[in-house]
């Protein structure tokens, strides 16, 4: 067996989607990888001194600067003449990526640096106690977008990070999900084979923050995709080259699994709004499987 790149013994919650996602990513990229990690759950549960889960060289600096630290690593590797043999990954959670780290990430994209940025999207600031982020979905109940008699939760839809990444003209952008691990690993392998900046955003359920059973992590992730709420898309040079086709299921199938949407279940008006978000995705990315494409829905 090869050197374990993400060893057990980490302190992630039972059923943590992010720990699963992180392992899938590093295994796909392989031992010749250097990782720069933003502050967040992943850093906390995988590197509590004096222990570390990481089998690759790994550095954590701050909440918002993994993309810039990785830029320094990449520049150093070019200087050393080693860049062609080493992958550089910068990674962080949705807050560290789409909110506080967006500027550093945009800089990394714009400079064309040969780095894969991975965003583990669990749709809120989980490490600090489930506060809303720019990637928290519409109507989700978080501790800073609580549902109440005057609110049905988070008032804004998710920030369109893959489109923001694409607007930089970078060679590869994809979304993935821990509900589809082979697809995820295929995308990581493809990304690291492409020179330049790459962005992969991975949907990683958080049993604690989304309030579902740990055993449901994969199911919740899959259901998000199948409802059209987390389209799995792939862009090369800003051109959409593939989507995961679905036979769309109603969004309730996804919402009802999670406590963060519990307040909506007797609120058909709000559910309709979420269904509209899904419908918009389905139309925009042409997600619906046609009779001639039957097999595509199971390719991953």
């Amino acid at each position: 067996m090869n050197r374990q790149l993400f060893a057990p013994g980490h302190t992630a919650c039972v059923g943590c989607g992010q720990s699963l996602g992180a392992r899938l990513v590093i295994e796909a990229s392989g031992p010749n990888t250097i990782v720069a990690n933003n502050t967040g759950c992943l850093e906390v549960f995988s590197t509590k001194y004096p222990e570390s889960s990481w089998g690759v060289p790994w550095i954590h600096s701050l909440f918002e600067n993994a993309a810039a630290v990785a830029s320094g690593i990449e520049a150093a590797l070019i200087y050393l003449g080693k860049k062609d043999t080493v992958n550089v990954i910068a990674q962080g959670g949705d807050g560290g990526t789409a909110d506080i780290g967006l500027q550093a990430l945009s800089g990394m994209f714009e400079r064309g640096q040969d780095i894969l940025y991975v965003c583990y999207d669990n749709e809120a600031y989980m490490n600090t106690g489930i506060q809303r982020s720019g990637l928290t979905p519409f109507d989700a109940n978080t501790t800073t977008s609580p549902a109440g008699s005057a609110s049905s939760g988070n008032i804004r839809p998710k920030k369109p990070m893959p489109e923001i990444a694409n607007a930089h003209g970078i060679p590869y952008v994809a979304t993935a999900s821990v509900g589809f691990p082979q697809d995820l690993q295929r995308k990581v392998k493809k990304a690291v084979s492409i020179k330049g900046p790459k962005y992969i955003q991975i949907h990683v359920p958080c049993p604690l923050g989304w309030r579902h059973e740990p055993v449901q992590t994969a199911q919740v992730a899959k259901t998000a995709v199948e409802a059209g709420l987390y389209p799995l898309v792939e862009y090369e040079n800003t051109r959409l080259i593939a989507v995961r086709k679905i036979k769309p299921s109603p969004v309730e199938e996804y919402l009802k699994l999670q406590g963060r949407f519990k307040h909506l279940l007797n609120n058909p008006e709000e559910i309709k709004k979420i269904q509209e978000i899904a419908n918009h995705n389905i139309e925009k990315y042409n997600l619906r499987v046609t009779s001639s494409e039957k097999n595509l829905s199971t390719e991953c």
Binding site: P57, G72, E74
Partner: protein
């Protein structure tokens, strides 16, 4: 070789001699000539470095952090707001024990916005763990970069260094200086060999989460290392003298303090003006002197105590404030006498030159004049009281 160079240009030349593999910076006045110069050197193929143009100082500091963590010597420069924006990263670089080199072109802090010189920027960053040098002139700026890299990369140190040069006064001033030769620099400063680095051949985890069981020791180790740096700097400057023939104590410099009755303590380019005034007053028979502080972090308490304990009256000149308290350098000079029997009768504190207001020879003479038996705290020199009458009622 003697050359007539602008301060910023001199910095680019010495940085080139140090062969950093990665340079990253974000433009801010008055640091710009430095990074423009380095960019041109890379563009002209004279300097084999990766020049990373970033979108902010926060990222500039993060890029050099990442580069040094990968085992490559790196360089950045900034000023004022840029240094503050780096602030979070600066603490982190020191905590990760990465020997980054940073040139700070000292400039005032907003508000009100002001691009001219004082030392509020770097003085405010005194707690971040960087070793801090303050240069009096351009020659010293050049030499402190060489000394700085040597100290920073010493295997017993592994801490970042900030060389502070007064904005415009030194960055845009022109002097004839002795620019070291490459062979001399190579002899004095060997290639960077990291104690630890990000290397797939030998993976390790840097920057882990550290809980209360371990955190104190990590911080204590940095504090102790700073004490070792106090001892190391004079050793490195002695080696520097052997190679380059220029002598520095490294921590402090005494100027006509023997038998002095009144001494000003100061940092940076103002020391040049003070020396002129000291010479003038000495010519008139006044027993005055200067104690220049070159190394502000680690703070050379013992050296200051030894040099000032028999001086009756000491004036500390700050070009920065700690709003709501006494002036920062004055507090630390006073602290050098903490628990000591011998000490000056008077340690008065003066603030001058904020936001680029000229500190003239008359300003220095005024400080000597005010250095009486009455101890003064945070006394502003060259203040215009008529400007304080504005009201908004």
């Amino acid at each position: 070789m003697r050359e007539f160079l602008e301060g910023s240009q001199a910095v680019t030349r010495v940085v080139k001699l140090c062969k950093p593999g990665v340079i990253s910076a974000y433009p801010i006045t008055p640091q710009t000539h430095i990074v423009e110069g380095l960019a041109q050197m890379v563009a002209d193929g004279q300097l084999n470095s990766q020049f990373v143009n970033v979108e902010s100082e926060h990222s500039a500091a993060s890029v050099v952090l990442g580069a040094v963590a990968t085992g490559v010597r790196a360089y950045t420069a900034t000023s004022s707001q840029g240094l503050f924006y780096m602030g979070e990263v600066l603490f982190n670089i020191a905590g990760l024990r990465l020997p980054v080199m940073l040139t700070c072109a000292n400039r005032a802090i907003s508000a009100p916005i002001n691009i001219w010189n004082d030392q509020q920027d770097s003085v405010s960053m005194r707690d971040c763990g960087f070793i801090q040098f303050y240069a009096e002139d351009i020659q010293e700026v050049v030499d402190l970069h060489l000394i700085g890299y040597r100290v920073a990369e010493d295997k017993s140190v592994m801490l970042p260094v900030m060389v502070c040069m007064d904005g415009f006064i030194l960055t845009h001033g022109i002097e004839t200086i002795d620019m070291p030769q490459q062979e001399e620099v190579d002899k004095f400063l060997p290639p960077y060999s990291a104690l630890y680095k990000l290397d797939p051949e030998r993976p390790l985890t840097m920057g882990p989460l550290v809980d209360p069981e371990y955190y104190m020791e990590m911080r204590f180790a940095i504090q102790e290392t700073h004490k070792e740096v106090i001892k190391l700097i004079p050793q490195i400057t002695a080696q520097f003298f052997k190679v380059f023939g220029r002598q520095y104590h490294g921590l402090i410099e005494e100027y006509r303090t023997k038998d002095a009755q009144r001494v000003i303590v100061a940092m940076g380019s103002v020391c040049g003006t003070i020396k002129e005034v000291v010479d003038e007053l000495r010519a008139k028979g006044k027993k005055v002197g200067l104690l220049k502080i070159t190394t502000y972090r680690p703070f050379p308490h013992q050296e200051i105590y030894e040099r000032l304990k028999n001086i009756p009256r000491v004036a500390v000149l700050d070009k920065a404030l700690s709003l709501g308290s006494y002036a920062p350098l004055a507090v630390e000079v006073k602290a050098a006498f903490f628990g000591k029997k011998k000490q000056p009768q008077v340690i008065s504190s003066f603030v001058a030159g904020l936001g680029g207001r000229d500190i003239t020879k008359d300003s220095i003479k005024e400080i000597f004049r005010l250095l009486t038996a009455k101890e003064r705290a945070c006394e502003f020199i060259d203040l215009k009281p008529e400007l304080l009458k504005e009201t908004y009622e």
